[in-house]
Amino acid sequence: MLSDMAIDPATAILQVLISGEAFGIEIGKRIEERTKGKLSFPQGTIYPLLRKLEREGLLKSREGEPLPERGGRPKIFYKLTAKGAAAAMENREIVTGLFPNPVRAS
């Protein structure tokens, strides 16, 4: 069954970023919401993976404003590069069942 298929975290991240940029926690939440809890990643899984995808040129990041409640630490927002968008669209058909939300071209 499609919904029971194993999906790797990198594919899931690329899929949720099709609908626009997001930061770490938000990406995790989007994945959980869109898969109705079928996929969730522990805290330590997402950030190294985001940085790895950035190094591979699939994502690019930007720093937001420093936030006082985070002790002056900014949020790091990620979005797909052209290469990342192409990779995400390649996998799109395979994971459609898991990510049924309409997509917006970035």
Binding site: Q43, G44, Y47, P48, R51, R55, G71, R73, P74, K75
Partner: protein, 183 residues
Amino acid sequence: VIRFIAPDGAASEEEIVIHVERYIAGRFGSRAASKLRGLICSGDDTGLRNFAYKLLKASHPWKDAENAVRVFLNPGFAKALRLRERAEAESRRTHATQAVLREVAPFFDVISALLPKRLAKEDVGEAIDYIKEQAQKYEGRFLRTLIMLKVASTCFWLGIATAREIASIVIAKAKSTPEKKAE
């Protein structure tokens, strides 16, 4: 001045309600009494019940009971009280959050000074966000143990992430050196 005589000067919540209800029934009729009971004992509205209890208890020996009763009979009162309850809950959330953040901030500041900048900003920042979110959710009933668990798990993942970052830098340098030599 109306006096509600409680046997020993103290009364349970239910006793107070009964006292007030009897008085209202005698003075304003049974419809007013049931309206009062509806207001004070309305199912899940524990805030209103507690408030009624505190207000009437505070008015011991019931000198101001009539004023208290009149307040309960005002239809706008329940709404005003709910708004106040909401504002108080929000304030409790804010205080709880600030207290928790004050507690964890110095620790995370020290950790951040030892970490690569990117990790200090992203991983630590989002751990703080998570703790803040939990503190707001539980309105001050946020368990200290949970905070400590979160701090401990953050340290664990930060250790792993730092090792990965260092390894990736070393590997990248090792790859680039032979390429430079070849050039």
